[in-house]
Structure formats: C-alpha cells, structure tokens
C-alpha cells in the first residue's frame, strides 16, 4: 500500500469512527448476522427491504450499513448450515456438507468457531486487499470510455447468465427481460417516453425497490410457504460446549483459511464471481489438495474453514467493481448501486479522488465491521441459536410488514405495492421454473448504463460497431463474452444426447 492510500485510509477511519457511522455499521452487521442465521430471506432480500430506510441517510452511512448486512450475512449464514443442515443463505450451502457432520459428532462448537475465525481473517484480508488494489485499479479504470463500459456491462450480465443457472438460455432470457424493463420510462437523451402507455408512475422508470422486494422478499415467502411446517426451526437443544477449537483444528484450518481468503477476493472481483461461487470453488480446491480427501463430507474441518473464509473475502472483492467502476457484478452489489444512484451518487474511477471520505469511509468501516462480526458470532452464538426458536408462522407476517412499509415509504403510493405483489408472484413462478433471478436484477440495474454507453460509443464511432474491437480493453471484454457463449454452446452440444426442455440446457 502506498503512503497516499495509507493516509486516505486514516481519513476513512475518521469517517467510519463517527458515532452515527459506528452505530449503523453495528446495526448492519447485526441485521446481516440475523438474516444470515435465519433461513429464507437472504442478504439480497434484506438489503432490498431495508433500502428505503437508508434514503434519508448520508450516502456513506447508508453504504456502511448495507455493506454490513452483506458481510454480516456471510458470517451468520454458517450457523444454521452447521447446526440444522439448512443453509442460512446461498453462500453457506457448501458448509452444510462438513459443518453439519461435525455438529452431529458433537463438534458444533469447533465448527462454529472455525467458521467465525475464518470469516474474520478472510474478511480482514479481503479489506486489506481492497485497500491495496483500489488505487492502481482506479488508475486503470480512468482509461475506460463508453466502449469499455458497454463491453464490460455486457460481460457482467453474460457471466451472470452463464453462472447463475444450469441453463444459459434461461439466464439470457432473464438478462433480456431485465434490460427490457430498464428501457421503460423517459429516455434520458431524447426526453421522449418509452413503453409507458400513459401510466404516470413509470415515467421515471420502473421503480427498483418494489421489483427487488417482490423478487427477493415476496417470492421467497411464497417459497417458504411450500413447507407445511410453520413451527420453529430449532426443536432440539444444541450443545455448544467446547466452543474453542483444538490446536489441531486450528492447524488444519490455517491453510484453507489463507487460500480461501485470496481465492474469495479474486473471485469476488470477477463478473458474477461472488460469495456463492467462491465457497464452492474453495471447497473443491481444499478437497483436491487434501491428503485425506475421503474425510470431506464426513466432518472435515477444512471443508468448513475454506468456504466460509472464501465467501467473506468475496464480499470485499465484489466491492471493488462496484466502488471503482460503478459496475456491480453480483445481485447484492447491484442493489447497493441502485441505492447509491437513488441518493444521487454514481460510483466511478474518480470516486476515490473526488469523494475520498465516502470511498475510504466505507472501506475503513469494513475493518471495524469485521471485528464486530467476530464478537457477534463467536461469544454470542447462543443468542443466534435462540432466534431459530421463533416460529416461522410469526416470522412471515413480520417480514411481509417490512416489505410493505419499505415499498410504501418511498413514494407513498399504492401503485408500488401492487407492483411488488405482481413481481413477487412472477418471481415465484420464475423460481419454480428454475429461472435465475440474479441476471434479471443485474440487467435491470445496469440497463441504463449499458444503453447510454452503447449510444455514446456508436456516436464516437460514427455509427460503426467496430469501435468495440478497435479499442484493446473493450475488445478483451468482447472476446470474454464470445468465450462464454462458445463455452456454453460447446457444453450444450456435448450434452445433446440427453435432450432438454424448452429454455433449458440442463
């Protein structure tokens, strides 16, 4: 880290340590941990539901809280994976494999402790790496013009389409649907209305929050209602004795935590390579290099340490494209960008120099937030276990109430609530048909950026699309897109014998 970055980070700490920012960082990690612990609504749904509550805040405070929910959710997600064999959120799915096996053999305390320690170490390493790479990456990103932005946004949504579902076609259909939705409203360049059909409420564009809450809140509740059991999730007492892991546990976990930290950060920076994929890759890596691969799935502590570290480090990694390029590569950071845009702040490579207090304040808060998460998750794990005793029948009305208040409070109009309800039903149908929702949201958030970049690029190129391959960085991104498409087609051809349903290459 150069001196300038170090000094800037100190400025960031002076911002992050302000009482209101400390308080909202704590609220963020507390809510994130709680949401991570509770199966059902994930960080995306929680952040979407809480967005309207942040609109009155300073943008720095707002992002500090939202980021806290994001990485707090990664910490909390492991608790139910280990104790109940039910992942609290998607990035903790892989933790169930060995974490729950450890719990069944009376080692729940060690699994929870290693998960919290790994999350803390990786989260901190991730933020250190974010601090180190921010300035050089911003220097590189300053060279980005409209062609690079267009190509990069296309690469982002294509990667999301490919990685978020077993079916590339379904992912692509969701991308196009999201982009279509983004074109509704007044065209910012010509000032003309598009696809509004006289509905005044959509002249400013399709409101993001009702769509997000519908997709991730209402549809999630409808999915939860498929399960006939509405009692509490935790029905037996979980012994949490021996919370501290043994010396051998720590030795066995050190390597996976270190590897998971770097792997997660690197993956987090890539299009669609957020916490979910990082955790799976880390698990695969640990199993591959282990001297005892046969122990994986039977309670290997490496299978908890690696993925839990990777998913936390990935949250820091995924803040890099959001804060430096203003382009989110996963659904949670896409929602964060939506929040910042609503508050009139558009992240860009110049953000670090033009608004250092915002950029470094958020980064510094992540150092502090990680310490808060460790305290919340290690000594206080018993409290989270108690939360699992709240009956689902009581949780559902509470979550719905939050959704309604969140949506209504933006514009105080019922139209948004009906939109939320309609999108919720659509989202549930999409889930049932195994359409991925993340590409739709990414495309909806990136749509206007992509369209403006396309139009500006074509103007620069006097109407010629060749501008996208004449500029090296844009060309590299376009080749990335072609690579993904080629890979998807080749994979499909290889599996052709098995047949596939419409809009599916599964």
């Amino acid at each position: 880290m150069d001196l300038t970055s170090g000094q800037q980070l100190l400025v960031g700490f002076s911002v992050a340590l302000r009482p209101e920012n400390l308080m909202f960082a704590f609220i963020g990690v507390l809510l994130g941990t709680m949401i991570g612990v509770l199966p059902g609504i994930g960080p995306a749904g929680a952040i979407a539901a809480l967005l309207p509550f942040t609109f009155g805040m300073d943008p720095t405070t707002s992002l500090i809280m939202l980021a806290g929910i994001f990485y707090g959710g990664m910490y909390g997600g492991s608790t139910t994976s280990i104790l109940l064999n039910v992942p609290g959120e998607a990035a903790s799915v892989v933790t169930t494999l060995d974490g729950h096996q450890m719990a069944r053999s009376g080692r729940a305390g060690a699994a929870l402790a290693i998960s919290a320690i790994g999350s803390f170490v990786a989260g901190t390493v991730g933020v250190v790496l974010l601090t180190v790479v921010a300035a050089p990456l911003a220097m590189l990103a300053i060279r980005f013009g409209p062609p690079e932005y267009f190509a990069l946004t296309v690469l982002g949504v294509m990667a999301a389409a490919y990685l978020s579902s077993a079916s590339m076609l379904k992912g692509l259909a969701m991308v196009i649907l999201g982009l279509m939705l983004s074109t509704v409203g007044i065209d910012l360049i010509t000032g003309g209305a598009r696809f509004t059909y006289g509905v005044l409420e959509v002249y400013g564009g399709v409101e993001l929050v009702p769509v997000l809450i519908g997709l991730f809140g209402i549809s999630e509740i409808l999915s939860m209602l498929q399960d006939p059991d509405t009692g509490s999730l935790l029905r037996r007492k979980i012994p949490l004795r021996e919370l501290w892991p043994s010396g051998r546990d720590l030795r066995d976990s050190a390597g996976p935590i270190a590897r998971g930290s770097f792997l997660g950060f690197g993956m987090g920076m890539l299009p669609s390579g957020g916490p979910f994929i990082s955790s799976f890759l880390s698990y695969a890596l640990e199993k591959k290099i282990s001297k005892r691969p046969e122990t994986f799935g039977k309670g290997a502590i490496e299978g908890v340490a690696g993925p839990e570290s990777a998913n936390n480090s990935a949250t820091a990694g995924s803040m890099v494209p959001l804060l430096i390029l203003g382009i989110p590569f996963n659904v949670v950071t896409a929602i964060m960008l939506g929040a910042l845009i609503i508050q009139g702040l558009q992240p860009s490579p110049m953000l670090m120099t033009r608004q250092p207090e915002f950029f470094w304040g958020v980064v510094a808060s992540m150092y502090i937030g990680n310490v808060m998460c460790l305290v919340l998750n290690l000594p206080l794990v018993g409290i989270w276990v108690k939360i699992l005793q709240i009956p689902v029948a009581k949780m559902i009305p509470m979550i719905l109430l939050f959704c309604v208040i969140g949506v209504y409070s933006i514009n105080a109009r019922l139209f948004d609530l009906w939109l939320m309800l309609g999108v919720g039903i659509l989202g549930y149908a999409l889930r049932r048909l195994r359409f991925p929702l993340a590409p739709l949201v990414l495309a909806l958030v990136l749509g206007r950026i992509m369209e403006n970049a396309l139009r500006q690029s074509l103007l620069m190129g006097l109407g010629s699309p060749l501008i996208f391959i004449e500029r090296p960085m844009a060309a590299a991104f376009i080749f990335g897109v072609l690579g993904i498409l080629t890979f998807a087609v080749v994979s499909r051809l290889r599996r052709r014998g098995g047949g596939a349903p419409a809009l599916s290459v599964t």
């Binding site: 196009i176 360049i189 010509t190 009305p397 719905l400 609530l417 049932r432 396309l454 419409a502 599916s504």
Partner: protein, 153 residues
C-alpha cells in the same frame, strides 16, 4: 405435452415480438445521434431469436417432455397457504390508506399469524400489538416515514 417451461418460453416469445413492434415505432437514428429505438430493437430481436431457437431446439431434440420434472404448481395445501397470504396482503394494500397504518397493520398481522398458526391465537394478537406499537414509534414518530394515518389523521 405442453410443459410450463414451454408455455413460459412461448410467452416470452410473444413478449419479445410485441416489444419489438413497439420499439420499431421509435427512431433508431435521429438528428445525427443514436435514437431511443436502437437498444430496444436489439433487445426485442434478441428475445425473439433466443426464445424462438429454444422452442425449435426443444421440438427438434426431444419432441415431448420425457424427463420427470417437479410440477409447476406446488401441492394443494401449500397453494392454499400461498393464496391466503397473497389474499391477506392484497387486502392489506387495499385497506392501508382508508383504514390507516395502525388499524390495517394490526388486522393484517393478527389474521395472518392466526391463519398460519391457529393454535397460538393469544400470542398472535400480542405480537400484532407489539409490532404495530414498535413500528409506529420507530417509523412514524422517530423516522417520520410517510405512512397513512387513516381515520386518526
């Protein structure tokens, strides 16, 4: 056999076509600048090609659904629960402005909690009272959120 997958793909195909027709009414190039119609036209065409190709490939490769797939609709009991929750939510939205936040929220939480867990009626009412009081205190009094006051306004 028509699967929900195919119906949805056909729906997206029709949507893509309708969107393309509407997009074609917008200018692609106007006053030496890129018009508002170019991006939507590309999207409409892409949706048509994508869904058209997937439907065609489906027919060519398989002809009919042979794979055992999870049915689109959930079991009857789950469907009733989902419909009840959506119905309660719709009633809540309808009642929110005329009845106000306090009354409509109390009724919504109480009715929904009892519907989901009929054995715990008293605790359902208690939770509803607590939630409404907390929401009123935090959101309306403290955060000054614009929630409808109804007849008490």
């Amino acid at each position: 056999m028509i699967t929900a997958d195919r119906v949805f793909a056909a729906g997206l195909f029709v949507l893509g076509g309708a969107y393309l027709v509407e997009a074609a009414k917008l200018p692609v190039w106007k006053d030496q600048t890129v018009g508002a119609g170019l991006f939507p036209m590309l999207l409409g065409a892409a949706m048509l090609v994508l869904t058209g190709a997937s439907l065609t490939l489906d027919v060519l490769e398989r002809g009919s659904a042979q794979h055992a797939r999870e049915p689109f609709l959930p079991p009857r009991r789950a469907l009733i629960r989902q419909a009840s929750v959506l119905g309660a939510l719709a009633m809540y939205v309808l009642a929110l402005e005329p009845a106000g936040f306090i009354i409509s929220t109390f009724l919504f939480i109480t009715v929904l909690s009892i519907a989901l867990d009929p054995a715990r009626r008293i605790s359902s009412v208690a939770v509803a009272v607590l939630l409404v009081a907390l929401a009123q205190l935090l959101l309306v009094s403290l955060l000054k959120m614009p929630l409808p006051s109804g007849p008490f306004g």
